[in-house]
Amino acid sequence: MSSISQTDWSETLKFWPRHNEALYRRLESKHSWLEHSGDGAPVDPLENQMVLNIGPQHPATHGVLRCVVQLDGETIQKCVLDIGYLHRGVEKIAENKTYQEFMPYTDRMDYLSPYSNNVAWCLAVEKLAAIEVPERAQWIRMMMSELARISSHLLWMGVGLMDAGAVSVFLWAFQFREDIYTIFDEVTGARLTVSHARIGGVATDLNDTGINLITDFVQRLPAAITGWENLLNRNRIWIDRNVGIGVMTGEEVVARGMTGPNLRGSGVAYDIRHFEPYLKYNEVDFNIPIRTEGDALARYFVRLDEMKESIKIIRQCLEKLKTVKGPVRTDDAKRAYPNKDEVYYSMEGLIHDFMYTDTGVAPPKGAAVYHAIEAPKGELGFYLESDGTGNPWRAKMNSPSFTNLQGLEEMMVGAHMGDMVILIGTVDPVLGEADK
């Protein structure tokens, strides 16, 4: 029998009544509110005003984002974003997992660039437990994270263009995304949920097929990007849809805490790869694209240029991987998984593997660190607290989509209804990550 004693649900049949009530109160929409309360107050006689719910189930909201907007004619007077429809409580889950066990969950946060999330989590744990990562593993991580960045930006571009009405770019972008998925499949064994990074290194080394696929990919992509630039950079429709839309000044984006291309599109030079270099970013040569206009078009240019810079980084990684040989995981059974050969053919290896799965790495009691990486969408950081056991005491995720969405609320005010879809696209939110 169920432990639920309540059988009459007619009172609560209205789904989440208090939630919606609070949302509309926040909107302070006199129109919807007065009509609702029925106290005889005059409603908008020309019926210019209107409250519109867009989402959570709407293709243009890039997931399950719910925008409640108050319109005056075609202008958005106020916008309230309602997120949490994809809330799975990953922070709570993390507290009940070992550090290594939680890593696959990070794939499901920003599912457009799972490799970056794996790396972000592992780096945070490695900082917490002071684990060194072999050099080859660092180069592999870096290269794959940049591929994930390209993949994420390609999706943003394809979907962004489709939001504006152009379907062909979507198909071209997805051709290349398919190539990246093939690479991930070859290198990590999975297309989407890669789970390739391990604490102390990565799961497997690259084989020749993987290297060849990546080499081939970075040879073909620049020509394609040039083609897209030829089509879009002087495209009247694309420019007119984007220029002067969602303008945020440098002070505004910093005050709103926005990150990633949204910050750099407004002229703020903040990129974790330069700000506090992790992995081997201080040893490669690349630029941080910055625009000062702060509108949707500037963010488009920033993302397009970032893809080109990523190719540059991947080329340097491929070059380095020819010379940097060695293990891809720390050879310390208390800090990282042992090699599979060891596990299958030696008793100690098996015991270590078991112990690592059971307890794993146990950072000192009371330790707390924050480690951030530059994910495709901005600063992705994990704040970890340890109680000396194998499970994190607290794992707080600072997700870029969450902070960026906060800026979107501001961006929407005063915009036209027709630009709303472009604005959501330009912020590039992933709700899996924003909702945690």
Binding site: M1, S2, S3, I4, Q6, W9, T12, L13, F15, W16, R18, H19, E21, A22, R26, I83, G84, H87, G89, E91, K92, N96, L123, E126, L128, A129, A130, I131, E132, V133, V254, A255, R256, G257, A269, Y270, F275, E276, Y278, K334, T359, A362, P363, P364, K365, A368, V369, Y370, H371, E379, Y383, E385, G388, T389, R394, K396, N398, F402, T403, L405
Partner: protein
């Protein structure tokens, strides 16, 4: 010779709750420590500004965490922002130090973009008075993060312009990241939509665990035929 005389052979009793400890040396030079977190001079400036309100400074992996008095957090943030250029608020989050005094903690992760510095502030909150002064007046970016903290821990931020829940619906009556909240959730706390078009709300998110078998959406709903 008796065994007890030999200090090497003397049996050593492990404490019951044995916790493996990392050697101190491994922590001293952390391979992932960043130059941006070396902010000893800023901590000093903060100490001279706030005086006794700075309770403690913890350094781990090169990161400085300054714990300040709960009622001075806004002053600390304003000083860091206006005098020391920490214009960018990265993150705010809570933490439940279950079984300790001053049970909850709120941390503030601040960045100085131009000088490349990062510092973390912390306040402790006791269960008897679960309020912290909001910093939305200093950093507008704190808005959603404080709401998240309220949603997850029930720490309310005094003076916050919009203290609603962030992820969970307003109808939810618990604070999920508190340590006493069960991982599987509280059955019935969050009714889900009906499983079939003609059904009622699903009060129990885990019906199979409680011996129920709700109809699948693709299944025909049996309608009692009128035999009269």
């Amino acid at each position: 010779m008796a065994v007890a005389d030999n200090p090497i052979k003397a049996p050593k009793t492990l404490p019951f709750s044995f916790v493996p400890q990392e050697p101190e040396t491994a922590v001293a030079n952390n391979p992932h420590a960043k130059a941006s977190t070396q902010v000893a001079d800023i901590v000093k400036a903060l100490e001279s500004e706030l005086g006794d309100a700075v309770h403690e400074t913890v350094v781990y992996a090169g990161e400085h965490t300054v714990r300040v008095a709960r009622d001075r957090i806004e002053d600390a943030c304003r000083f860091l922002k206006e005098a020391l250029g920490f214009l960018y608020l990265v993150d705010i989050g809570g933490s439940d130090r279950f079984t300790e005094d001053d049970r909850y903690e709120v941390f503030y992760n601040l960045v100085n973009i131009t000088e490349g510095k990062r510092i973390r502030l912390k306040v402790r909150v006791d269960e008897s008075d679960m309020t912290v002064r909001t910093v939305t007046g200093v950093y507008p970016a704190a808005n959603w993060n404080e709401r998240e903290c309220w949603d997850m821990f029930g720490i309310s931020f005094e003076g916050h312009p919009d203290m609603r829940r962030m992820f969970m619906p307003e109808d939810f009556e618990y604070y999920p990241l508190r340590k006493e909240f069960p991982l599987l959730g509280v059955p019935g706390s969050l009714p889900l939509p009906p499983q079939a078009p003609t059904g009622t709300l699903t009060p129990d998110p885990f019906p199979a665990a409680h011996g129920h078998k709700p109809p699948k959406s693709f299944e025909e709903v049996k309608i009692e035929e009128d035999k009269g």
